[in-house]
């Protein structure tokens, strides 16, 4: 596989940087409300992020970005968003999937601005579409109806891009109706690739949350029956690439805004992990291969590789 690597210096100016108060993860007590978090007060001239693209950028491929647990409204979210825009200019991805916890704390109109519209404004202005799934900090009414999240008014939905069918699930409330819907839609999908994304991970080795075993017990049989290829989840505020199982690749990305530093238990099923800074992912699907690149807030690529459809990883590093 021809792999191109090149660097681009993208100049971004005038991007506002938020200076917000801390926003701790929910730890059994109520998270401090941040509804009054001021909008970015200072406009700074951001340094141009260095871009190091490690996906091949093949013709007619499907390219998208992934963020999870992003909606803090804090500086780190804005940093990641700025980096995403720099990569968008190089990679030309035109949509982003969101793995839940899109808006932390209160859901006032101001929160939608500070925790979504403002940080991702350059992406939105460039026509990038965001497809959200719901996390435990998300309001199921407000967010499914919020047009920029492209949920079509539903808690769970599907959409297709090229050869790839996406299934956004609501893992907060996996009721029999949703399971039935998933069964029907996976069964009828004619797409070459099937990608599911939702908040609570089937597998992860973080100390803070861990895997949702009941969810896995009920949903995984459908994934296996209908040959789902890749699963993206958030919730644990780290990045993890887990060992594939039965032809399904599992990624956890819950650190695009939040972060749980040094959260890992010893690795058993984890192939790669990152728990010291925020990050986001780039995905490119071309033919029978999925290429991925995970980029930390500081700009360094922390994981990348290529994965065959319904197979074992051959190129991940």
């Amino acid at each position: 596989m021809k792999r191109e690597r090149y660097s681009v210096l993208a100049l971004l100016t005038g991007l506002s940087v938020i200076f917000a108060l801390g926003f701790p993860a929910f730890d059994g007590t109520f998270a401090t409300a941040r509804s009054s978090t001021p909008a970015p007060a200072l406009a700074q001239t951001a340094a141009a992020p260095k871009v190091d693209v490690r996906i091949p950028l093949q013709d007619k491929s499907v390219r998208f970005a992934v963020i999870g647990d992003s909606g803090t409204g804090e500086r780190e979210q804005y940093d990641v968003a700025r980096l995403m825009e720099a990569y968008r200019q190089a990679v030309k991805f035109d949509f982003v999937i969101m793995l839940g916890d899109n808006i932390y704390g209160s859901h006032s109109p101001r929160d939608f601005v500070d925790k979504f519209e403002k940080p991702y404004q350059p992406l939105l202005d460039a026509g990038v579409k965001f497809y959200a799934s719901l996390g435990n900090h998300d309001d199921p009414n407000d967010e499914r109806l919020y047009k920029p999240f492209n949920m079509g008014g539903e808690r769970y939905y599907t959409f297709r891009k090229g050869d790839v069918a996406f299934f956004a699930l609501d893992s907060n409330y996996m009721d029999p109706a949703q399971l039935s819907w998933l069964d029907q839609n996976l069964k009828s999908s004619q797409a070459k690739w099937r990608i599911c994304f939702f908040h609570h991970p089937f597998y992860n080795e973080g100390r803070h949350h861990g895997a949702d075993v009941d969810l896995r017990t009920q949903v995984l049989p459908l994934f296996e029956r209908y040959a789902v290829n890749a699963v993206f989840s958030g919730h644990e505020h780290v990045y993890e690439r887990m060992k594939p199982a039965n032809g399904i690749y599992y990624f956890v990305l819950g650190n695009s805004g939040q972060l749980m530093k040094h959260d890992f238990r010893s690795a058993g099923e984890r192939l790669k992990g990152f728990d010291t800074d925020q990050s986001f992912m780039l995905i490119e699907i071309a033919g029978d291969k999925l290429f991925f690149q995970t980029i930390a807030r500081g700009g360094e690529t922390i994981d990348s590789g290529e994965l065959p459809r319904n197979g074992v990883s051959v190129g991940a590093r």
Binding site: F26, G28, T29, F30, A31, A33, S35, G105, S106, H107, S108, P109, D111, F112, V113, N136, H137, D138, D139, P140, N141, D142, L145, Y146, K147, P148, G152, G153, E154, S171, N172, Y173, M174, D175, P176, A177, L179, S180, W181, Q184, H200, H209, G210, A211, D212, V213, D214, L215, T217, Q218, V219
Partner: protein
């Protein structure tokens, strides 16, 4: 106990919010009752479940009468406004609403029994593990006909538990806060009713 299997076989078409509500409730009831009649639930529970469904239908009728469905919008202001209006109208239409209006003592007892059976069953350990990993919420004071507390996350409700409770129309959800089971109205953000101590 074949009820969970039966529930997974039920097909719920994606329907409009209000147009489908009563039809869906009736359909669910029709599907649920044969399961009971077939011996998958004690016959003595049949009347309790039917009573629960009737109370749900009454609430949905009131909801429909008070509010048009919330509409998608690119404006967070508009979304907040229509939700606020929906909540105010329902609260005004149920001024005397109190705990037990829907979860009557017999219905609450039925739910507690179903939850206890589920939690003691073969999936109990997985359900407890999932609840523990889903940012469990503490027990707090909650009121019927009041809004779900601002800033409080929504703990996920374990799917196996949902399979063993009477199904709900899409406007309503079972939610867990501490040991309390809530009946939650998504579009208004209101707590319709609750059962303290339901999750033992």
């Amino acid at each position: 106990m074949h009820l969970p299997i039966l529930m997974r076989q039920i097909r719920f078409p994606v329907m409009g919010r209000y147009a489908a509500s009563l039809v869906l409730s009736g359909t669910l009831l029709a599907l649920f009752i044969p399961a009971i009649a077939a011996g998958t639930a004690p016959t003595a529970d049949q009347a309790t479940i039917r009573d629960f469904q009737q109370r749900l239908n009454n609430y949905l009728s009131l909801q429909k009468k008070q509010n048009p469905p919330n509409k998608p919008s690119a404006s967070a202001d508009k979304l907040a406004e229509q939700k606020e209006v929906a909540a105010d109208k329902i609260k005004a239409a149920r001024p005397a609403a109190r705990r037990g209006d829907i979860f009557t003592p017999p219905i609450a007892a039925y739910f507690k029994k179903q939850i206890a059976i589920t939690m003691r069953g073969p999936s109990g350990a997985k359900i407890r593990a999932s609840m523990l990993h889903a940012e469990p919420l503490p027990d707090i004071h909650l009121e019927v006909n009041a809004k779900y507390p601002k800033d409080l996350p929504y703990q996920s409700t374990p799917p196996t538990l949902l399979m063993n409770l009477p199904p709900l129309p899409k406007e309503l959800q079972y939610r867990v806060v501490g040991s309390t089971l809530l009946l939650y109205d998504i579009s208004s953000g209101l707590i319709v009713d609750l059962i303290p101590g339901a999750i033992a």
